[in-house]
């Protein structure tokens, strides 16, 4: 059995009877707070700051069965230099791909500062044996991935086998330690309640997550403002109690620049500026990038933009 790192207060093993008693969230109040934060009107210089930040924390993603080296090459170019006509536009934080494409992404990003994140552990379902998951993790790291995005076993979680969920995270972290940072995907759209989102967040953090992440992006319902607020509050509580820093990744369904700014405002007013850096925050997205570029150009020129003027990679 793996050894556990320091646990947040009130969180001892065995987990099965204890976890459901942990952390209640009032859904109405949470959603209302998220909605109020979303009314912040971010304009002019503060908007440009946010849009620039949105790119710098972006994990530009392609996770399709039809992905090929050519597709990854195009995406990587886009991520490194999103707008060839504007040298001030930064590179994204990372490129996120399936295990088979990791090597290509690593090759294309070498020397650029852009990281390669690989999904692993039978993404997106997580419905395989631990051995298969660990093998896949080892493979992507050997192929050069800087970051591993794993999924928790929701089947185990929802049937109350919390110790199993916990143990899997710990074992995957062991494989990663020292070589790659680990993001743990909770797949919040399947967890049913905010209470469960909080419990899964604390469980993942206890297991050793460097980042907790909302979604695989493969379900219709993924990141929402209330869900990320719930996760940020869990991160904040752990930091307050233990000093440990855990990052947050919002992924799935974030397509418009306006949404991206709302997510960043939420982080700003919950965890503060210290969390608004790629080391502690990521936005997982694909179509978002062009909308952000369009907004940046609109701020610069004063005109509403046309998608034809931005490359599709």
């Amino acid at each position: 059995m793996a050894t556990a790192p320091v646990l947040p207060g009130g969180f001892e093993l065995p987990l099965e009877p204890r976890l459901p008693r942990l952390g209640s969230i009032d859904a109405v109040a949470l959603e209302e707070r998220a909605a109020t934060l979303a009314t912040r009107s971010i304009k002019k210089g503060s908007k440009v700051f946010a849009l620039d930040l949105a790119i710098r924390v972006m994990d530009l993603t392609t996770l399709e069965g039809a992905d090929t080296p050519g597709k990854v090459a195009a995406l990587t170019s886009k991520g490194i230099r999103p707008d060839p006509s504007d040298p001030n536009i930064p590179s994204v934080a990372a490129i996120c791909v399936y295990p088979n494409l990791v090597a290509y992404a690593v090759e294309r990003t070498r020397g650029t500062g852009v990281k390669v994140a690989a999904v692993a552990t039978s993404f997106p379902s997580g419905q395989s044996s631990l051995d298969v998951k660990l093998l896949e993790t080892r493979e992507v790291i050997d192929a050069g991935a800087d970051e591993v995005d794993m999924v928790i076993d929701r089947g185990a979680f929802l049937s109350g086998r919390y110790a199993q969920v916990y143990d899997e995270i710990v074992r995957v972290k062991e494989v990663c330690a020292g070589r790659a940072h680990l993001k743990v995907i909770l797949e919040t759209g399947e967890l049913g309640t905010y209470d469960n989102v909080r419990r899964a967040s604390l469980l993942a953090i206890a297991g050793g997550a460097d980042f907790i992440k909302t979604s695989t992006g493969k379900l219709p319902s993924s990141a929402t403002l209330p869900v990320t607020l719930c996760m940020l509050e869990a991160i904040r509580d752990v930091h307050e109690e233990t000093g440990r820093v855990v990052g947050m990744k919002a992924a799935g369904g974030i397509r418009q620049a306006k949404q991206a700014v709302q997510y960043l405002v939420q982080v700003h007013e919950t965890l503060g500026l210290a969390w608004l850096t790629p080391d502690r925050y990521r936005l997982g997205a694909s179509t978002l990038l062009n909308d952000v570029l369009m907004q940046i150009r609109k701020e610069r020129t004063g005109r509403y933009q046309n998608p034809d003027y931005f490359t599709v990679d």
Binding site: I25, D26, T39, S41, S46, R81, G113, L273
Partner: protein
């Protein structure tokens, strides 16, 4: 294709780590509002010059700038208004079929919805509250209040089984400055729905939304004299209260003035409802959802700068979670944005008047003098205008003035308790009884607390929630009578006989 990888690396390094993310000003435009230079009194469907010949200036408390000249209604003016209301009642309003009355009120509701942004700007300019609140809370609730009561106008027999409810006649209504338009809606809508006519006096410092409301009345083609607006200070209110031809008085304001009104009306047989002050207890148990409870505390006392009669001004924290709650509270207070009410990002606006500002300051000083510990987050206040930084006192004893007296400002007093019985005893240990808050996961405890708290409104796992369908009003010295809901009709109907 990357031309120069070193160039890219340089770009990455050059991105400086920012020290702050300042939100740029996001002001709501004032253009949509047009004020006259001077306003008369709205009597019998027209604006008339005050017979008193007296006027005063109303200002914008965030900038201390004048907005318009307002009439100070004297005895003769009030008399004229009451006569107009009486005539409209006898000749027109009480002759109308109730379903026609309903349609006038529906019109008013719809017009308020249409002109919502305009009125929201007026409320923020004249009163000091943030535009986000006037836009998202005051205006929608005001329109909804008219919509709700419109529907009762022709259904009164269902509200009072076995009775034939009839209107009372002319109602005199005096409202405060904290929710000017909303308080106007709370008064006028049920009164008109029940078939009465009204003479309403808005607060001295916030007359403008009421005066603009006269234009809504005009657009709705309400028969003249059904609604009359007389502006002025406390003297105008006193004239209205003591006018012999007013059948019913409705007052929302300070307990002190409420008692004076009650004395004035003693023996007169006139109907009276009072909605006065409060010193609500907001009680947090150890199993409460903590981050949401902290939001509830913030909303309870800093919403509308604490100018709320039902504000959760006494926080009772279960001692076992005290440190955690205070730490979360102080941290959250640091993100409150105090500033220009017209800025869409402002959370806490201006204090309504110099007078109120002084009162808050003096009570806060008493808290310090009596030995409580004060915390105020760092806050940059504008140069001009009336401002008070959100404040919290810990180490407060039940006997301190800040725990006894209504401050009506953004000042919270924190006390602790060990058992539910202790919380209840301390919560009820006040002459007031308007509202209370309870935060706990346990359903049975919510209901038990609600049962034992002597308050007219109990909020469980939420705070400062209002709805036209929900009756609002106090126990004890917080007043009597209810506004909102089916019960809100009762003060405006005569039920004698069947």
């Amino acid at each position: 294709m990357i031309k120069d990888k070193r160039e890219v690396a340089r770009r990455g390094e050059a991105a400086a780590i920012p020290t702050a993310w300042e939100y740029a000003p996001a002001p709501e435009s004032r253009e949509i509002v047009h004020f006259e230079d001077r306003y008369g009194l709205y009597i019998g469907g027209q604006f008339l010059e005050p017979l008193s010949n007296e006027r005063y200036t109303t200002i914008d408390p965030a900038r201390e700038e004048p907005l318009a000249e307002i009439a100070q209604a004297g005895k003769a003016d009030v008399d004229r208004a009451v006569k107009a209301a009486r005539e409209a009642y006898a000749e027109r309003w009480s002759q109308l079929r109730p379903s026609e009355r309903a349609k006038y009120l529906f019109r008013i509701a719809r017009i308020l919805q249409e002109r919502s942004r305009e009125f929201a700007v007026v409320e923020s300019l004249n009163g000091g509250k943030p535009i986000r609140e006037s836009r998202d809370v005051d205006l929608p609730l005001a329109a909804a209040h008219f919509f709700y009561y419109a529907g009762w106008a022709d259904k009164l027999e269902y509200a009072f089984p076995n009775r034939t409810p009839r209107p009372i006649g002319v109602a005199g209504q005096i409202i405060p400055w904290n929710f000017p338009l909303l308080m106007l809606a709370w008064k006028i809508a049920p009164a008109l729905a029940a078939g009465n006519t009204v003479v309403l006096k808005p607060a001295e410092t916030t007359p403008l939304s009421a005066l603009l409301f006269c234009d809504v009345v005009r657009q709705a083609e309400l028969p003249p004299g059904v609604v009359n607006i007389v502006t002025g200070d406390g003297r105008t209110g006193a004239e209205l209260v003591s006018h012999p031809d007013v059948d019913k008085i409705a007052f929302t304001g300070s307990t002190e003035v409420g008692k004076a009104i009650q004395r004035t009306l003693a023996g007169s047989g006139k109907r009276l409802t009072l909605e006065l002050g409060g010193k609500a207890a907001n009680i947090i148990f150890d199993d409460a959802p903590l981050d949401q409870a902290v939001e509830g505390i913030i909303n309870g006392i800093y919403f509308n700068q604490g100018h709320v009669c039902c504000a959760g001004s006494r926080l009772f924290v279960e001692e076992s979670i005290y440190e955690t709650v205070i730490s979360k509270l102080k941290r959250r207070m640091k993100t409150l944005r105090v500033g220009d009410p017209l800025d869409k990002n402002t959370d806490v606006g201006a204090i309504n008047s110099k007078q109120q500002l002084d009162k808050i300051g003096s009570l806060v000083q008493s808290g310090i003098d009596e030995g409580a510990e004060i915390y105020q987050p760092p806050c940059k206040l504008p140069e001009r205008g009336y401002w008070f930084v959100p404040t919290v006192f810990t180490n407060v004893a039940q006997s301190y003035r800040i725990a006894q007296e209504e401050i009506f400002g953004p000042v919270l007093s924190v006390l602790t308790f060990r058992t539910p019985d202790e919380a209840i005893e301390k919560a009820n240990n006040t002459p007031y009884g308007l509202s209370a808050g309870v935060w706990t996961e346990k359903g049975s405890r919510i209901l038990a607390m609600a049962q034992k708290l002597r308050a007219g409104v109990v909020w469980a796992n939420t705070y400062n929630r209002f709805d036209p369908a929900s009756p609002f009003g106090g126990y004890k010295e917080s007043g009597f009578g209810r506004e909102g809901g089916r019960h809100g009709l009762e003060p405006y109907v005569a039920l004698d006989g069947s």
